[in-house]
């Protein structure tokens, strides 16, 4: 059980929760994740840790409402309890003094990127950060990122803020201007990571990407989160979640993420049916 200490709306479908979790707060490092359950018999969902404070004993997670469980989580308020919270899971990001680092985040992927930017900066790196979203109102953590990075670029698909276009455009421009980077981390929707890391790898930059496949236990037990990296099967939960982007089979990841699309649609419809039935009954 873990108590919700604070809940904030960051954009239309994105919420930030501060959870009481003294052990995880003490132990967590950049790049690690937690798994939580919202209710008894509920699904286990993995979420990357976005922030934490060991002294005060809390961590923060940033959640996009995409399915049934995240919608249930969104209904909870400050003071409510999350049924299960376990972590920190996965290997931390490998942090060292690389020199010039590039951190690229897209959509809600900006959240897990934040602690990595902080850790790289703290290790003495120069950190250039590029964040992007569909539009300005969906952009999260801009101020935090600005404060944590050596410099920050913003891109929006519709041009409502920063560069009109994709984060990859901004990257291409930096490279065209003759900039060099020693290390890159890319986190975002799979298709964005696929496109962006192809560019960074082509530019000769050692690039890590943080993956979010379907996962159950988070301890290596089920193998549901497996992914081909350089032709070997790896488990995102114990071998990752970060992998060398030059070896990731992106198409496989994207295909496997769609495993239960039909099931989830059905579950949502069934749930809504039950809900309308209940409302109708109550109206009567």
């Amino acid at each position: 059980m873990s108590k919700i200490l604070k809940k904030e709306q960051l954009s239309e479908n994105v919420l930030r929760f501060r959870l009481e979790a003294p052990r995880i707060a003490k132990k967590r490092k950049a790049g690690q994740f937690i798994i939580l359950r919202v209710s008894e018999d509920g699904e286990r969902i993995p979420l990357t840790i976005a922030n934490g404070n060991a002294e005060e004993g809390w961590i923060e997670i940033i959640v996009q409402i995409v399915g049934y469980t995240t919608a249930e989580l969104a209904k909870l308020n400050e003071g409510d309890l999350v049924t299960d919270l376990v972590g920190p899971l996965g290997k931390p990001t490998h942090i060292e003094k690389f020199g010039k680092c590039l951190c690229i985040g897209g959509g809600v992927g900006i959240a897990p990127l934040y602690p990595i930017v902080c850790a790289l900066k703290e290790a003495g790196n120069n950190v250039t950060t590029i964040i992007g979203s569909r539009s300005a109102d969906l952009l999260i953590l801009e101020e935090d990122m600005k404060a944590a990075s050596s410099r920050l670029f913003v891109a929006t698909d519709d041009g409502s803020k920063g560069h009109h276009g994709f984060v990859s455009d901004v990257f291409n421009k930096l490279i065209a201007d003759g900039e060099k980077f020693d290390f890159a981390v890319v986190i975002g929707p799979p298709i964005m990571m696929k496109v962006t890391t192809e560019l960074t790898v082509k530019a000769g930059i050692k690039t890590m990407a943080s993956l979010n496949p379907i996962m159950i236990d988070g301890t290596g037990m089920c193998g549901g989160c497996r992914i081909s990296v350089h032709g070997d099967t790896k488990f995102a939960c114990v071998d990752g979640p970060e992998f060398d982007a030059s070896g990731i089979d992106w198409n496989e990841l994207i295909t496997r993420l769609g495993s239960y699309t039909a099931f989830e649609r059905h579950a949502r419809e069934k749930h809504q049916c039950k809900l309308t039935e209940k409302i109708k009954k109550e109206e009567k």
Binding site: D41, R44, V86, D217, G220, C222, G223, G224, T255, S259
Partner: protein, 463 residues
Amino acid sequence: MNADDRFKKVPMREQEPKVRAKNFDEVPCGYSEEEAIKEAKRCLQCKNPPCVTGCPVHVKIPEFIKLISEGEFAAAARKLKETNALPAVCGRVCPQETQCEIKCVLSKKGAPIAIGNLERFAADWERENAEIIIPKVKPKNGKKIGVVGSGPAGLTLAGELAKEGFEVTVFEALHESGGVLVYGIPEFRLPKEIVKKEINYLEKLGVKIVKDFVVGQTATVDELMQEEGFDAIFVGSGAGLPAFMKIPGENAIGVYSANEYLTRSNLMKAYLPDSTTPIMRGKNVVTVGGGNVAMDSARTALRLGAEHSIIVYRRSEAEMPARDAEIHHAKEEGIEFHLLCNPTEVLVDDKGFAKGVRCIKMQLGEPDESGRRRPVPIEGSEFVIDCDVVINAIGNKPNPLIPNTTPDIETTKWGTIVANEKDGRTSKKNVYAGGDIVTGAATVILAMGAGKIAAKSIIEDLL
């Protein structure tokens, strides 16, 4: 007693195969009191009982059976619990036919005593009819023991040490305790309610269970010992890391490890009709492997609505590691067996879903290091089985989390922790290990035996 009564086992009633293949209720129905007494009376009450030597936890077999024959069912259960904290579980999942029953003197002339059936009967009878008596626990001795994993090894050790007055905390990574007993073994073989009750019993003995705690990640073994005051740690983290076949198409949608498939069905309750846990309910399901886990998977698939549930195994039935009873049950229920063939590829449709398994026929060659005849592919014999779900039940590797985060613990090249099988001691002081993390995937009772042995060492070393 006439010869017929002496040498014939009282059979246990079972659900009809056609009926049970569509539900998740337990397959055997258990003995009635009369049946149990009749079976118990067959026991010869040997002075030097060979059955006990076959049992990894040395259950006092003739003694508990005598109590059943006298109608003292609750006393029989308590006798069992003197050496076995989980009798209702063991009565169901132990391979008695290769451990205690095989040694029964009666088996020379007829059927051995159905020790497993009687163990199950006594434990069930006590749970359903009697007040569960908590044995006297020794006064607290001030020593703190941490147990990694709430599977059979850890639970057994926890029970033993709690009775001795140790303060025992069991750390479980998942949201429910029981390890493989709850995530792996299906309801129709081991009802979860029974596991829960047996764990409740341990809690009443004073064992504390902390869920959602991954030792190695939430805190390491060293941190538990140095910062949190644990005097000894027992590692029973299991064999939880599925092996894959390394064939093309294996990462297609619809290809599961048995662990994932069974976890979705058992722990995450996809077997219940209104569950929100997604699981692919295939029409044609191929399970690869010949062990108990393969049988559990194939039989679960049938109950989840498969029209054809097919086992593909590369050797012949004689080499199958599964218990005879499980193979027998599977066949009765209509599981199809494709023996002496091995998958070479999972065929995938244009949307990324599995649509078939290409297999090659095998023949048995010379014995390999396991003593079983090595399967050899027959060239040009490939064929395709159409299917929409593939379950990979070819085994597990040890879980890496403890070895990876405990640098000074010795491991083998397979990743298992090195522990003396006679005392459970590892290369690290005051750290003990047992169960699948030491042996590689094995049985519930062997893990329990290891827990018992390590408990004895801890008592020796710490008191």
